[in-house]
């Protein structure tokens, strides 16, 4: 409890004791008698102890033109009750109101703290080596290129490269997966991970504000800016709810007594209305639930950029996946080589030489295989033709390496038997020279993840790939995808996403999952763009709405589950709060309930809604 909260607690207890004393003073019919004064005095003392600040705030806010301020409404309700002679009611309403406020403040503070603990990435200090001395400074004070020392058990404060020592780093805070990564001299380390065993010295490669930990923290903290539609709706609703209930109160206090003359009874009911008029339970629980969901997800290495994306993900029924690196491991292996008129090694060497300039995973696998066989791979004038392949000069011969479309474009007839895998063709001086089959194995848990999505009601799961159709279909079949769009050029992916977007059922959302490297436009086009394996990739963090720090495809169904749970909690809170408030309003209007029930409808509901909202944080058993 904070100081302010403790002070309020003491005040509430004192007021409650005085108020309890008031109940022992017998009531009297005789106005202005000693007993009458005593009773009024005791309750008034309790009233003022409990609520002087409410009254004060009400006066101040009225001066600022805030008519429908909750302090003002509570003041009117309680003062009104005092004036019509219901001293205990007027006093207790205010005490309960304060209890509720205190409870609310504690609950919100607690959840805020546990959420920020969850994203416990920010280092408190850095040990920097300056002039042979090790100083403990704020991470912000360390410049790029300085040497920092990280002892076992400490958090890595800044990104950098190891210059001394070796150790195992725990990246759980970043990725949600408790895995040790062994690092030694020359390896890159990311801030936010924890040094578990040996002493490390690293040369920093970024300032604190550009470090991985700072970026992730910023991402989660800024998520509150992107408010969910439900939250905006509730805020708008709150703006009309209070005035309507207040007008209802005025009508209730004035119109019926004109007919039956029972002023005090109707005014009492009107005052009860005022107690219920605060929309706090709604306004507080909706963002709290979303924030809790975002915090809970971050513990699993799922960083969500805003409540709106969490909301969209809950509605997602169409899932579009990029194949390479998302559903498959993204590391290709050369499977078979079919040379044509030359030796196997000659073909592999030529292709590798040309492909060396390319960063494409397929090209890399060919180069890797050639290197393994210690082939000579030298090329001149190599140039990459996006979507087709590579053209280069190897040992004075013009070599073109690429897909079937490339060969077609060159007018080179090829041989192609149907095989599973991706086929790379090679043309030498305009003549077909053979083909290499490379394969990219699906991730072990990809099929499992897709199955879970189906169970969650994902009606359409589509894979996009630049691969040949039959190779792509073979992968799709083993994984259990519903559709495949194969042989897509890089810009064809966005077009495919557009097309699928147009076909999605109304009121559902489309989610695109990619590795974030080349799919920025698709990530942006989808309702929700999820980038995988984003740790250390700024481009992916930038482009996506939801960022998976780990490379685990099963985080996708987990994120959907978290989104659904959060959404359900939000709905529960809204329905519950509104139902109780409406019920109490109706019952009050007909005179069945009293001010006690109204206080429950106000603060009691808030507290219950807050406790319910805090469930959104719990994501371990999903």
């Amino acid at each position: 409890m904070s100081k302010k909260q403790k002070k309020n607690l003491v005040r509430i207890i004192v007021a409650a004791l005085i108020c309890a004393g008031g109940f022992f003073v017998p009531t009297t019919e005789e106005t202005f008698s000693f007993l009458w004064f005593l009773r009024l005095g005791v309750f008034l003392a309790a009233y003022l102890t409990a609520g002087w600040d409410v009254l004060w705030k009400a006066i101040r806010n009225i001066a600022h033109g805030q008519v429908f301020d909750e302090n003002f409404l509570m003041s009117i309700a309680s003062i009104g009750a005092m004036i019509i002679g219901d001293y205990p009611e007027g006093t207790v309403v205010l005490i309960f109101y304060q209890v509720g406020e205190l409870f609310q403040s504690i609950a919100v503070g607690k959840s805020r703290k546990s959420i920020s603990d969850m994203i416990d990435l920010s280092p408190d200090y850095a040990n920097v080596e300056r002039n042979g001395e090790v100083l403990e400074v704020e991470p912000e004070e360390v410049a790029v290129g300085e040497i920092i020392v990280i002892k076992p058990g400490e958090k890595v404060p800044l990104d950098g490269v190891v210059v001394f020592g070796s150790s195992g780093l725990n990246t759980a805070a970043l990725t949600g997966e408790s895995a040790l990564r062994d690092v030694t001299v020359g390896d890159e380390v990311l801030s936010g991970s924890v040094n578990t065993s040996g002493l490390l010295k690293i040369r920093t490669s970024s300032e604190f504000c550009d470090s991985t930990a700072a970026k992730i923290l910023e991402l989660v903290e800024n998520s509150a800016e992107n408010k969910a539609k439900t939250e905006n709706f509730i805020t708008r609703f709150a703006r009309v709810y209070t005035p309507i209930v207040v007008i209802g109160a005025v009508l209730l206090g004035v119109v019926p007594p004109l007919f039956d003359g029972n002023w005090s009874e109707w005014i009492y009911r009107a005052l009860t209305f005022l107690v219920v008029s605060c929309p706090c339970a709604l306004v507080i629980s909706v963002p709290l639930s979303f924030f809790g969901g975002i915090g809970g997800a971050s513990r699993h290495g799922i960083m969500i950029k805003g409540a709106n994306y969490l909301e969209e993900l809950a509605r997602a029924r169409t899932f579009v996946f990029d194949k390479t690196g998302t559903l498959t491991k993204g590391s290709f292996e050369v499977a078979t080589i079919f040379p044509e008129g030359i030796s196997e090694e000659e073909l592999l060497g030529m292709c590798a030489a040309a492909e060396r300039i390319s960063n494409h995973p397929i090209a890399k696998s060919i180069v890797r295989d050639a290197e393994k066989r210690e082939l000579k791979i030298d090329a001149e004038n190599a140039e990459e033709i996006a979507g087709y392949g590579v053209k280069a000069v190897v040992s004075g011969r013009e070599i073109c390496v690429g897909n079937a479309r490339f060969m077609e474009k060159l007018g080179v007839p090829v041989k192609n038997a149907d095989t599973v895998g991706t086929v790379i063709f090679c043309a030498c001086d305009g003549k077909y020279a053979g083909r290499i089959i490379v394969r990219d194995e699906p991730k072990e848990n990809a099929a499992q993840a897709l199955k879970k999505l189906t169970e969650l009601g994902a009606d359409r799961k589509i894979m996009l790939t630049g691969d040949r159709k039959n190779a792509a279909e073979a992968v799709a079949k083993t994984l259990g995808l519903d559709e495949v769009r194969a042989e897509l050029l890089p810009d064809g992916k966005v077009a495919a996403v557009e097309e699928i977007y147009a076909e999605k059922p109304p009121k559902t959302a489309l989610c695109f999952v990619g590795d974030g490297m080349n799919d920025a436009p698709s990530l942006a086009r989808a309702d929700v763009g999820i980038a995988m394996g984003a740790l250390g990739s700024d481009a992916a963090i930038e482009a996506a709405d939801i960022v998976l720090m780990n490379d685990n495809i099963e985080s996708v169904p987990l994120a959907v589950k978290i989104a659904r749970k959060t959404h359900r909690i939000v709905t529960e809170n809204i329905v519950f709060a509104l139902a109780v408030k409406v019920a109490v309003l109706v019952l009050t209007a007909v005179g069945i309930t009293n001010m006690w029930a109204a206080v429950f409808a106000d603060v009691g509901v808030s507290v219950i809604a807050i406790i319910n909202a805090m469930r959104a944080m719990r994501t371990n058993k999903l």
């Binding site: 805030q66 805020r112 805020t235 963002p287 709290l288």
Partner: protein, 73 residues
């Protein structure tokens, strides 16, 4: 220009919503968000008038919740 400010003692969620509405109405503000959860306020506004707009925004916040303090760095 877009900047984030820390809020101290922002005690009620409804007040945060009211502040946000009021700040959005200030002339020159492109977007504004007041987060009760993170106790932060983000304002995006014209560069030339930014400081002036921030002052107006702080004033609006004080109007809604006099106890709430905006940390202007």
């Amino acid at each position: 220009m877009k900047k984030t400010f820390k809020l101290i003692d922002l005690d009620c969620a409804n007040c945060a919503a009211k502040m946000e509405t009021a700040i959005k109405k200030i002339d020159g503000v492109k977007s504004a968000a007041v987060s009760f959860m993170t106790q932060k306020m983000t304002i995006e506004a014209d560069d030339e008038r930014f400081d002036e707009i921030v002052k107006l925004a702080v004033k609006e916040c004080k109007k809604v919740e006099p106890d709430c303090e905006v940390v202007v760095k």
